[in-house]
């Protein structure tokens, strides 16, 4: 490719800079707001806070906004769901990827159909299932709803299973290993990179989900991060500085995950689109 002329480069950099400003203006404004006292917030506009060690807003939002409880509940949900989800996803991928049987295609089709159905709309009916199981307003409701594998997960796992040489299975069988042992000691470990990507993407999406906990766990004791900040903002809409502190704290976990594990996230996102 030829060399890009200088004025084109300049244009490219200025549009990029503009986009970065648009992305970071909102984040900057809550970042500085989070460290300001109430009076300071309403008087100082967008300038830097007087004191970056003013953590009053953070203390307040933790206490009144129940963020601590929110983080605790979402951690429990994530730990249980992700463990179960990885086991279920790898099991399905092993069964579908390594065995030929009559129901294989219909099962894939069922997963595809489930993907097409817009989840928000079927909540009316899902709600009745959750109630019938007696788990409404318990922490088990979101756990059950997040547990199942989705088609994206299965497609990604199946690609990985296909790339594991069948020789490995056959050698193990010569040595007398059972199918379960092959799954546990060959397939499951070799799916590691895919599992890492999927865990990260699922963590972000479950952490972000508002609708499921809002609908299925209205109890005060079962607040997760999304529902906690949602109900905190309701009656306290005036205190923009305290709200800013809450937003900043809630942003931190996924930003840290993203910065440390970008490679997996980009791989998962790009993979997902090619399906």
């Amino acid at each position: 490719m030829g060399k890009t002329p200088g004025y084109v480069r300049a244009l490219q950099y200025s549009t990029l800079a503009f986009a970065v400003i648009i992305v970071f203006f909102p984040i900057y404004s809550i970042f500085v707001g989070a460290f300001k006292s109430k009076v300071e917030f309403y008087q100082s506009g967008l300038s830097l806070p007087e004191n970056f060690f003013n953590f009053d807003n953070f203390k307040r939002v933790f206490k009144v906004g129940k963020l601590g409880l929110g983080f605790q509940n979402i951690s429990i949900i994530l730990a249980v769901t992700l463990t179960g989800n990885v086991i279920i996803g790898t099991m399905v991928a092993y069964a579908l990827g390594r065995f030929d049987f009559a129901l294989k295609k219909p099962i894939m089709a069922l997963y595809l159909i489930a993907q097409i159905i817009p989840l928000v709309t079927t909540q009316v009916a899902t709600f009745s299932v959750i109630k019938a199981l007696g788990v409404y307003n318990t922490i088990k409701a979101p756990m059950l709803l997040y547990l199942g594998a989705d088609v994206l997960q299965i497609v990604i796992y199946l690609q990985f299973v296909a790339s594991i040489p069948k020789d490995l299975d056959e050698n193990a069988m010569v040595e007398g290993a059972s199918f379960f042992k092959i799954y546990r000691s060959i397939i499951f470990p070799l799916l590691g990179p895919a599992t890492a990507t999927l865990i990260i993407l699922k963590t972000i999406s479950i952490y972000n989900d508002f609708y499921t906990p809002y609908l299925y766990m209205p109890s005060q004791k079962l607040k997760v991060v999304s529902t906690a900040i949602y109900s905190f903002v309701g009656p306290n809409a005036a205190q923009l500085n305290v709200i800013s502190a809450g937003i900043l704290i809630i942003f931190i976990p996924t930003v840290v995950i993203f910065l440390l594990l970008q490679r997996y996230i980009f791989a998962g996102v790009t993979n997902g689109a090619v399906k």
Partner: protein, 291 residues
């Protein structure tokens, strides 16, 4: 282990697939099927006293103009989504070149996608605040008081303000997907065309665009279905008030607020068919192109 592999095969297939399939049926397929049944009944969502009313709910949907009228608000998210796709493609092409700092830019522009969604909406609620919101404060500070707006209070502006949040959050995602697709185009295609004397516009028009066709189509359908299902931004921001209610907000309200589960189910079925219709069209177009 002395069980024959034939028996083991059955054990594995049965043992590994039962639980996942039960979950799939219970939380995805059964609700979808029962949705159809509910849509023909009158039901308050409690107990099992559904009353069969035939097509009455569907008639009501088509008789009450305000129900379909809500799709007008979904349109803002659709237009925003198309704009977002175009902007994302532009930046993807730039960042796919040999630009210094391209990895850093990719990370910075993708960042909004990983930010917590409810917190993001609330952040914009602060930003749009008429008196103390950062946008109006900023406009005041640089002497553009006349540009200050009631971003959420003005019914003519509010839907644009909300659709912008969706663009802000998802454009980095579209960009990264485009970059992935661009990287899968073989480099020698470009080299060959340069040797043949093609301009950079010509290589874009005759190599890049055709190779991206599939991804662009996919993104447009995702934009369309995403816009049809738009829900959380207007709901979290204003509970659908001030003329921001979308079709899904109306459906959810009908069910959980007005306790008309039958009518809500019928609305959900209508939406389901619209979404499936568009996915079907896309598949058709795709297969035709594939041959």
């Amino acid at each position: 282990m002395n069980i024959s592999y034939k028996v083991q095969r059955y054990i594995i297939l049965f043992g590994f697939l039962t639980v996942p399939l039960v979950l799939l049926c219970m939380f995805s397929l059964y609700p979808a099927v029962s949705l159809f049944y509910f849509s023909f009944t009158e039901w308050d969502g409690l107990g099992f006293d559904q009353k069969w009313v035939g097509l009455a709910n569907y008639k009501e949907i088509f008789m009450r103009p305000e129900i379909f009228g809500a799709f007008k608000n979904n349109l803002y998210y659709f237009v925003g989504g198309i704009l977002q796709t175009a902007i994302a493609l532009y930046f993807a092409i730039i960042l796919n070149g040999r630009l210094r700092g391209r990895y850093a830019f990719r990370v910075l522009l993708f960042l909004p996608y990983v930010l917590h969604s409810v917190a993001t909406v609330i952040m914009f609620k602060n930003l749009y605040h008429a008196e103390y919101g950062s946008i109006n404060v900023f406009l005041g500070a640089i002497g553009l008081e006349s540009w200050q707006q009631m971003w959420l209070g003005n019914p003519k502006l509010v839907n644009y303000s909300l659709a912008f949040i969706s663009m802000w959050k998802y454009f980095g995602l579209s960009m990264v997907i485009f970059i992935g697709a661009l990287q899968s185009i073989p480099r020698d295609l470009y080299e060959a065309s340069t040797i043949d004397g093609a301009s950079s516009w010509q290589s874009f028009r005759f190599i890049t665009l055709p190779s991206l066709r599939r991804v662009i189509e996919l993104m447009l359908v995702l934009t369309l279905t995403g816009a049809l299902e738009a829900f959380d931004i207007p709901f979290i921001m204003m509970l659908g008030a001030n003329g921001t209610s979308t079709f899904v907000i109306q459906t959810v309200d009908m069910a959980f607020h007005f306790e008309k589960f039958g009518l809500a189910s019928a609305m959900a079925v209508v939406l389901l068919f619209i979404v499936i219709f568009f996915i079907f069209i896309q598949r058709k177009v795709l297969f035709r192109e594939g041959n």
